[in-house]
Symmetry: C2
């Protein structure tokens, strides 16, 4: 590909760096053994040679790291066990520390920060923009923040204070303060000359913000228009006034949806009066979308947060215990439901073998319904009439599923137990539990939304708990009434 | 906010449109009743008035729709029941049909296409770029494709053929053909004049592709550099040669990761020789990321694909049956495992009440492990040594969890059943099932990767099946050996 450097894949880089680290360890252990095992002339020279190899290795590692994008260094740090990680971290050029700290996951960031002294942390943080400092701030010791604060200009302090004042999940928490604003009573020519006087444009600049004398947003001038129009044309005639803008208190999730829906690269953030405060950009939004979807996935399997895969066992345990405890409680409730019917099970032991089927299929169907509804709610697809229609539909599906799958199960139960009443009870229990699952699958997310809570969180745990205990109760209850 | 139009929220628009549709239905039913119930003079005038109201309503609906972004119209179409949806679809200006068809979900697109005749479909498709036509093609009748193909220029036909030749999940399937290429032996001045001769720049243009005479990629010129440098500077001195570029056969997922990691807005797609074929842009990548994460979520709850929430019940059933069937089979296997121990349960019925706890906690813990590993694999964090370390760690966690939670469960079991042997068996079964869960949680995704399959798909179903049947077997087996 001629002059163009094909970037090496991160996996390849990771493998190379791990190989270098391993070689390094071998050299070190040799030096160590030499020093112990021998005396005299050789010992004096051998360590020298070894340490030359060592230095060469180290230099190669350094070169490799310097060539990597900060995001790739971050990934490599995450993929290394703690001792190797800190070794590599020492080799990373100090002027890239800040950027890399921003890229790594929270858990890994903790391990890196713990390895740095106050001076290093201050130096790393000072290189960053104020919005980035704000992102890092929660993980930094207070005295570091204080030092950094002192080193900022008055304007930057104001920005930092502002950035820190917004919650992480708001537009204010994601916005940056770098932007180019212009007036509308000038020509393209003037704008182009103005831009040439800048050292560089902020990244993700696809439009310039057009403001009036008071800093109020009047519209935007896309670079697309700036570049294809003649120099003598006035900005006012090209300004796009139909602007998607955000307020710092807006929900980050809604902003992400808007970016996706309207294919935005950047958008102004304005206060109540329409004054431009900052800018939201697609790179931050993409990271937010990915992180939100990761967090959802983790939560769905009962992990509180992303784990450093090489974290001490104790940290991992803490991350996993909340949900195991919740699960234990719901399992115990289900167990007590079964316990209440022990008499029936003693008389007809087939019930014990068949009851998990009723509970399991109910849980599966309930999760299908709830996923559908949560998704439709998130996309804003459920209006006033929608809920009722959905309800009828899900109940119909549950009824059909109950009869179809219930019959199959009833048939198989008959093959094993040759008890027609048992088969009928099985089918009835299946249908009723699927109806319960559909009912709960629609009502739980709607109720959560009505209570202004996130419809997604914990929905799956709740419905599984309900279809488990409910399934056992329905099946064993029906069996007790009709069979025992 | 002065001159800037604050865009109305989609939810508000949806509500308004639903209200208008409802009003429309009321008017229609009145006209209908008038026509039926009365005769003579009034009937002649009343329908006239009503139809005036009707027309007014229709005009208002039309205005509302015209003001909306195609993506918002798409969302509204998705949120409306079929009859209202088709009514609104009729009112959408024909020249926006193509764009909107691109935005709606597959399920809803089907209902809209079914409502259009061949001429309408051809007209809608012709407005689109070739890469967009390729996206729509799988849903269009063959004769429509043939008509559209005839209307294209030779170059466009070639592009369409190319776009259709790549799978949906490849870079080739996502790329577009609109791009601006320049030579490096010209000045900024020349580039700016060249751009002014264009009608417009392709959307998401943040860099120009620098090519040689043969069309081979030499580097890129970011607009940021173009704008801040003096007109007389030569492009060659500013070209960025460290370019992230893609091959049409590259995996779309990897490209999405690169966009996210390197904060890209656009990137060139080149063939084996380095010739520029097209462009990948962030808007398409963001849609891809969102769709992939949606698809994963749906799959995790056993739904095959996104559902039109107002789809006929039959379509929904088909969407859900595959996984219910799989679930049924795994539930039956678990049931047979229990069936094998019916004798033991008959003698000690407490086993029936306690066994779901062992199975449930095992499933939960296994899913936690598997989520961690799948995530680490996706991020490329597991190298050669990593796997062994992770294995040891997960086993340790399982052991600790088994002893801790097993003890708690054993204690509670003792409270209910006052049987110390039962409590010990419970604790042992819990520990063993958690070890099984950890083992499978690490091995299943690693094995799937080794077999070159996606480690995520179906992992959760597999591990839950294993910890269910395994949990029942371990608990009832131990109980049979030591208690019965």
């Amino acid at each position: 590909m001629a002059d163009v450097d094909e970037p090496r894949s991160v996996q390849e880089s990771l493998q190379e760096i791990m190989d270098l680290l391993r070689r390094q360890r071998v050299v070190e252990s040799l030096v160590h053994r030499e020093g112990e095992g021998r005396g005299g002339a050789l010992t004096d020279r051998q360590p020298l040679v070894d340490s030359l190899v060592h230095k060469q290795n180290e230099a190669e590692l350094q070169t490799r790291l310097d060539a990597l994008h900060p995001a790739d260094v971050a990934l490599i740090l995450e993929a290394l066990p703690l001792d190797d990680r800190l070794r590599v971290w020492q080799l990373v050029k100090a002027d890239r520390d800040g950027e890399i700290l921003l890229e790594v996951s929270d858990a890994v960031r903790e391990t890196l920060i713990a390895d740095m002294d106050r001076g290093e942390l201050v130096a790393a943080t000072e290189q960053l923009d104020t919005d980035e400092i704000a992102d890092l701030a929660p993980d930094l010791p207070d005295e570091v923040i204080a030092d950094v604060f002192k080193s900022l200009s008055a304007e930057e302090r104001e920005q930092l204070r502002e950035a820190l004042s917004y919650p992480e999940d708001s537009v204010g928490g994601l916005m940056d303060f770098e932007m180019v604003t212009i007036r509308e009573d000038v020509t393209i020519e003037v704008v182009l000359r103005y831009l040439r006087r800048l050292d560089e444009l902020p990244s993700n600049t696809d439009k310039l913000f057009v403001v009036d004398r008071k800093g109020l947003l009047r519209g935007v001038l896309p670079l697309k228009k700036l570049l294809v129009n003649e120099p003598e044309i006035e900005v006012a005639t090209l300004v796009d006034r139909n602007v998607v803008s955000f307020h710092p208190d807006d929900d980050a999730r809604d902003a992400a949806t808007a970016f996706e829906r309207y294919d935005l690269i950047s958008a102004p953030v304005v206060d109540d009066h329409g004054e431009v405060l900052g800018r939201l950009t697609v790179d931050v939004v993409v990271d937010y979308i990915r992180e939100a979807s990761e967090a959802e996935k983790l939560k769905a399997s009962g992990l509180r947060e992303e784990e450093d895969i090489f974290a001490p066992v104790w940290d991992s345990l803490k991350n996993r215990w909340t949900w195991l405890a919740v699960n234990l409680v719901t399992a115990f409730i289900a167990s007590r439901v079964i316990g209440a019917f022990e008499g029936s099970i003693e008389k007809l032991v087939a019930l014990a073998a068949l009851m998990p089927i009723v509970a399991g299929i109910g849980g599966n169907a309930g999760n299908q319904t709830i996923t559908m509804i949560v998704r439709a709610l998130a996309l804003g697809q459920i209006g006033r009439d929608g809920a009722r229609k959905l309800f009828v539909k899900e109940i119909t599906i549950a009824l059909i599923n109950g009869l179809v799958w219930g019959s199959i199960i009833g048939l198989v139960a008959w093959v094993f137990y040759r008890n027609i009443e048992l088969s009928i009870v099985m089918m009835a229990a299946m249908t009723l539990n699927l109806l319960l699952a559909a009912l709960a699958g629609v009502l739980i997310p709607l109720a959560r939304r009505w209570l202004q809570r996130d419809p997604a969180v914990g929905s799956s745990v709740l419905i599984t708990a309900l279809t488990d205990s409910g399934g056992f109760f329905i099946f064993l209850g029906l069996a007790t009434v009709f069979l025992i």
